[in-house]
């Protein structure tokens, strides 16, 4: 059977000598391609074709070919050539691709791609991803939370020696928890939380928390006011907790608010001979903290970008390239030098679906939630005020719907939509002491327990 295909240029490539070509059509032993210059047939012709089973390109070389037509156009030359030699393997490969591309009416395409014209493929031919599970969601928030709460660092898991050199930080990022700290203190808030989650007497939490992360990295409306912050700083002094201040992206209208806050924190630090870490999630914040010697800028999670989608394991190419998803620009010496020249002294990482290859000194690891998506215009606010997540606007006066509502996502993906962000849940710190051990060998010296 003759196969006549026009494939996207990501899938099929033509080469001759040192030039590459876009193949517009392949049919039997005939190939059409466009060239910027005159093509020399004596150089032969190679074709690279994507193989979905190996997730790599297979190359076919033809020493001999015949130019059937050569049309000079305004900007290029259009060639139709005949490949001479054994084309059976190439044709078999093309047939395999054709069997993957669905015919009209048999496709099961990705929904909601907007108007992007993707080729339709037979979904289940290529993937062992359980698409049907995407339709199964918990009925209630309590149900979802119970699933996660059931994941416990059980008796069999001994973290003792492993925890010795780690600093433990407790991260509060919402008003109810700020209020709890103001009323009950930091240690009591931590104790009550661990008690409620039945984690208090576990080996993992035998280590004492000595640092408090406070604020919100994703939403400016949940960063506490200056008065609350200063009050909590006072409590931290009394209770002996170090402080890391979590701040999000910087809205233009918040610049002065942030400047005032940093000024007040600096004054407090000078008075108390203390320093406070400030999480930088927007490069503009570096300018805000500059000049305040008591404020130590550290690079936040919004600037430590990675593929953190729970489905990324099933992405074409991931099977063989998983290790690639362990690194990012923070593994580059030149970039670290640049960041250090801007005053960055620590880097924040998350436990997520892939390992992080840590290439820096002074690194923290957050668990059990990791950020996937964040929006400057809040989808939850839009949903609550208009009935549609799409009718978004910059929120001026936030009634904090995020304290009362969440978005649930497919159960098997372990995700939750909180406020303006989507988070994933990663359990390995709770269940695998060796997971934590490996990170410590790489330089993680602080564990940040983020609570919602």
């Amino acid at each position: 059977m003759e196969v006549r295909l026009g494939l996207p240029s990501t899938i099929i490539h033509g080469f001759s000598n040192k030039m590459d070509y876009a193949i517009s059509m392949i049919s039997g032993d005939e190939v059409c391609f466009e060239s910027a210059e005159v093509f020399h047939a004596e150089e032969g012709f190679s074709i690279a074709l994507y193989d979905f089973s190996t997730e790599s390109y297979e190359k076919y070389h033809f020493k001999k070919l015949k130019v059937l037509t050569n049309e000079k156009r305004k900007y290029s030359y259009q060639y139709r050539i005949q490949l001479l030699g054994n084309i059976e393997k190439l044709n078999a490969h093309i047939s395999k691709i054709q069997s993957i591309i669905a015919e009209e009416g048999e496709s099961d395409t990705v929904p909601n791609l907007g108007t992007i014209q993707t080729l339709k493929y037979k979904r289940n031919v290529l993937s062992d991803y359980a698409y049907e599970k995407d339709g199964i969601l918990c009925d209630t928030y309590a149900q979802q939370q119970r699933i996660w709460d059931a994941i416990q660092p059980g008796d069999g898991f001994q973290y003792g020696a492993c925890l010795k050199s780690l600093e433990f930080a407790f991260y509060v990022s919402s008003y109810p928890l700020y209020e709890s700290i103001c009323k009950k203190g930091i240690q009591n808030t931590i104790d009550a939380y661990l008690e409620q989650k039945k984690l208090k007497n576990t080996s993992l939490f035998s280590k004492k928390f000595t640092r408090l992360y406070i604020g919100n990295e994703f939403c400016p409306h949940i960063v506490m006011d200056d008065e609350t912050l200063l009050y909590i700083l006072e409590i931290s002094k009394v209770e002996g907790f170090s402080i890391t201040l979590a701040l999000p992206y910087l809205l233009e209208d918040n610049i002065n608010i942030m400047k005032e806050m940093m000024q007040k924190v600096d004054v407090w630090c000078q008075k108390n001979l203390a320093s406070v870490e400030v999480i930088i999630n927007d490069f503009g914040m570096l300018e805000v903290v500059k000049g305040h010697k008591t404020l130590v800028p550290i690079l936040g999670r919004l600037l430590n970008k990675r593929k953190k989608d729970p489905r990324a394991n099933w992405l074409w190419g991931t099977k063989h390239n998983k290790v690639m998803l362990e690194e990012n620009n923070l593994n580059c010496e030149h970039y670290i030098r640049f960041l250090e020249s801007k005053g960055i002294r620590r880097y924040e990482f998350e436990a997520h679906i892939f390992n992080n290859k840590i290439g820096v000194k002074n690194a923290s690891l957050y668990f059990p939630y990791y950020q996937i998506n964040t929006s400057v215009f809040c989808p939850l606010y839009a949903q609550c005020t208009t009935g549609s997540k799409h009718r978004q606007r910059l929120v001026q006066h936030c009634p904090r719907y995020c304290e009362q509502y969440v978005f649930l996502y497919p159960k098997h993906l372990n995700m939750i939509g909180r406020g303006n962000s989507i988070f994933g849940y990663q359990e390995s710190i709770f269940t695998q002491p060796s997971y934590l051990g490996k990170y410590m060998q790489q330089g993680i010296d602080r564990l940040v327990y983020e609570v919602f």
Binding site: A48, L251, I255, F283, E287, E327, V406, N420, S421, I422
Partner: protein
Amino acid sequence: MKIVTPLSELSHFEALAEAGADEFYCGFVPFEWLETYNMTVPINRREWLLSGCNICNYSSMHILKRMSEEFKIPVKITLNAHYYLPEQYEMLIDIIIRLIDIEFDTFIIADTALVTYLQEKGITCKIHMSGEAEVINHLSMSFYDTFPITRFVFPRKVTLSDMKKLIQLSASHKEFEAFYLNSFCQYSGGFCNSIHCDKFPTTCWLPNYIVPISEDENERKNIKATESNNRKAEHKYGSFGQTGCGICRIKELQEAGVGFLKVVGRGHSLESLKEDIIQIKNIIKGAESESITEVYSDTVRKKYFNSDCPSRCYYPEGLI
């Protein structure tokens, strides 16, 4: 006001140029990149393997340059992945040098590490800071002062009044581009760590629903009931503006100092893009003959949507 138009395939060039494209942006993923990294670590944010979002060979880039010169329409190259692997920066430098040799001199970049690397390697080129860099305040704009940034692309979800402030506070020789049509994302591009691929919808399009945290009704604020998905406004311009729209704010964008209007659509069909460009050209032309901003905004909304706008509005608030 110039229309910045997506170019997915060479064969689209002439039709889009004739429709009114003033400038093109296109993704380029050479074979050596695809062979080594597939789309696992993509070169730009069009991460689909099966869609024709990117041009994938140098031969086509030579041809594209000829077209660009003939029509006198510049083409900018999109290299706006959030980050790259350490080994990829050297490969990127090779790619950029080869493209500069073909006389493409402008690159749309989101990764600060790539910007710093280009400077360190002494590569002379113009940089457009991609919307994916989420530069949303004048301090972060100043952060890039030491680099050859010639244009900032405002990310989605920057208000018109913020744009105006940022432009007023910026260096005078910079250009500014704003999202204008298609693909208003639920989340912010620069903060989106979800995958974009052929196999799955992005995370924001996964099935989801809102639920209360507490089961006690007395502890909750009242919220609006979820809008029906079946709402389909009938209007004669079909899908125009339905996935993201800022068309009625043309005069306010101009007043704010935006000179370039971004149409999203790499991978979209030629027909829909042509229609997008033709309509935007008409809107720009109309804006020149109407002096009152509010009147023109109303006219545009009425003409295209019978005053019943699509839900995904880029600029719900006007320029205050």
